[in-house]
């Protein structure tokens, strides 16, 4: 992207019909650490890479619960993501208060998209610098949406955003055809594998990633570190790819966990 004379204001069109500030804001999403989402007919999973700035620091929250039935993963400016999460929580709780029933996910993302669009059409504002993967369940089934800073939103079977997300997308593209019938365990394993792809050879540990799930009979919640460790161990035992047989199997032996990288002894990243 080159600097040019049409990119100072978000309200200035370029001769080619582009809004450069909006496009630059989408670059901010690509700079953030990766987040992936996938869904079946009944469940939706979000996973995110949680890298701390240094060993002294704690990790930045990437996964937020908006209501019992919907949550988001963010990539980009975390502060913008926090503000939008508060907006989502507010919309959900207002709907629940008036109608005593959960806000349909499709309506939530439209409200979020309309809020983002406003910032692309006011000269005194700037677009939000965060992309959101919205995962939720309503009476029409499980859903996964991606909300752009541009105010666009799309529904996906599986998607990845943030840095090196292309590697995750390539993996998901190969497998998404079967996701509708996947069990929740298989969804989680594929999410972890997709996250692993974005790490480019770095070792996948529970410190590095956070996983959340929502589905039928299951409110949106972050999966605890021990369970994630079990999934990661199962992945490593099989031949480097998520294996159907190892799926429903019990977690690997206690020795393997205890002798692990001391992962369990370090404090877990912040939980909701």
């Amino acid at each position: 992207m080159f600097r040019n004379q049409y990119d100072t204001d978000v309200t200035t069109w370029s001769p080619a019909g582009r809004l450069f500030q909006v496009e630059y804001s989408m670059e901010a999403v690509k700079q953030g650490s990766a987040a992936v989402g996938l869904r079946s007919k009944t469940h939706a999973v979000l996973a995110a890479v949680n890298k701390a700035a240094s060993d002294l620091a704690s990790h930045q929250r990437k996964l937020f619960r908006a209501d019992h039935h919907v949550g988001v993963a963010i990539a980009g400016l975390t502060a913008d993501g926090r503000v939008l999460s508060r907006f989502l929580r507010n919309e959900c709780i207002n709907h629940s208060f008036v109608y005593e029933s959960p806000l349909p996910v499709s309506r939530l993302v439209v409200q979020l998209a309309d809020k983002a669009q406003v910032c692309t059409q006011r000269s005194w504002k700037r677009p939000f610098g965060v992309g959101l993967l919205v995962a939720g369940l309503d009476e029409t089934g499980a859903h996964l949406y991606y909300n752009c800073p541009s105010g666009n939103y799309f529904e996906y079977q599986a998607f990845a955003i943030g840095s090196r997300s292309q590697a995750a997308k390539t993996f998901l593209e190969r497998r998404f055809h079967e996701y509708d019938t996947y069990s929740r365990e298989d969804l989680i394993k594929d999410a972890l594998f997709a996250i692993k792809e974005t790490l480019q050879g770095e070792k996948l540990t529970t410190q590095l990633c956070t996983v959340a799930i929502v589905g039928e009979g299951e409110a949106f919640h972050i999966i605890d570190q021990q369970t994630i460790q079990d999934y990661i161990d199962a992945m490593e035992l099989s031949t480097g790819g998520p294996d159907e047989e190892a799926a429903a199997a019990a977690p690997p032996s206690a020795e393997a966990q205890g002798g692990g990288e001391g992962a369990s002894s370090e404090p877990a990243p912040m939980d909701i």
Binding site: F97, V98, Y99, E100, S101, P104, S106, R107, D138, E139, T140
Partner: protein, 249 residues
């Protein structure tokens, strides 16, 4: 009551004070009213029933008032109390359903949602001392789930297998409590309702012999045309009533 009203008037905002000098802008008492509504769940869905009378005080002024209406695809509402307030409620609900349909996204408001929305309105108005003077029954079916609830002018709301408003609570519900069953067929349910409607006709002075029954199931809604019930007045005590007392009027 007067003291209460002046206290409340005092707390009305500045811009309202000019208005309140001219007229009071709140509901004080009802004018044209409907009497009981009865609602019951049955095997395939929910049935609401009422008469079609609009009373003006003690006068049976209007004889063809439809007090049961459809709200969206999944809900029926029946109203007793002030008819004009019911018409206002229908305006709110029709607008609500319209905006819901405009989403065109496969989601729709069911009876539970409509009931809660209405409850918010009724309670809010009550807190402003300007109630919608109604007792409402909402019945509906969505995705096989039957729903029957009630809400009134003070915001009290609850659900049950059979409900009534006004006199129906005292005359119809005891009958329903002893004779209602989960698996009533449509014919059995109508017979049970007619039994209740007849008692109300005999004993409620604001009722008339012109009834409407409405049914809602997963397949859809039907509001049946009004009809009359057979009454019997040939009791021996009604023949020659002054027999036992000389010089009665």
């Amino acid at each position: 009551m007067e003291l209460q009203r002046s206290m409340v008037d005092g707390s009305v905002s500045m811009k309202d004070s000019a208005k309140s000098e001219i007229s009071s802008e709140r509901t004080l008492y009802p004018y044209v009213t409907g009497t009981s509504i009865i609602g019951i769940k049955y095997k395939d869905g929910v049935i609401l029933a009422s008469d079609t009378a609009g009373s003006y005080g003690s006068t049976l002024r209007y004889k063809s008032v439809e007090r049961i209406k459809q709200v969206g695809d999944h809900t029926l509402i029946g109203a007793s109390g002030e008819i004009s307030d019911f018409q206002e409620i229908m305006r709110y609900l029709d607008e609500l359903i319209l905006y819901d349909k405009m989403w065109d996204d496969g989601n729709s408001l069911g009876p539970k949602e409509v009931h809660n929305y209405l409850n918010r309105i009724m309670y809010n108005r009550r807190n402003k001392f300007n109630p919608l003077w109604n007792s409402l029954v909402l019945g509906g079916v969505k995705k096989g789930q039957k729903y029957l609830g009630t809400v009134n002018m003070i915001g009290t709301h609850y659900e049950d297998d059979h409900l009534a408003t006004g006199f129906g609570n005292h005359l119809a519900r005891p009958i329903l409590r002893s004779e209602w069953r989960e698996d009533l067929t449509f014919e059995e349910a109508v017979k049970l309702i007619e039994k209740c409607l007849l008692v109300l006709l005999y004993r409620d002075r604001s009722s008339i012999n012109k009834f409407q029954i409405a049914r809602i199931t997963d397949e859809g809604t039907t509001i049946y045309p009004p009809y009359a019930l057979k009454t019997f007045w040939g009791f021996s005590h009604f023949q020659n009533p002054s027999k036992g007392a000389a010089g009665t009027w």
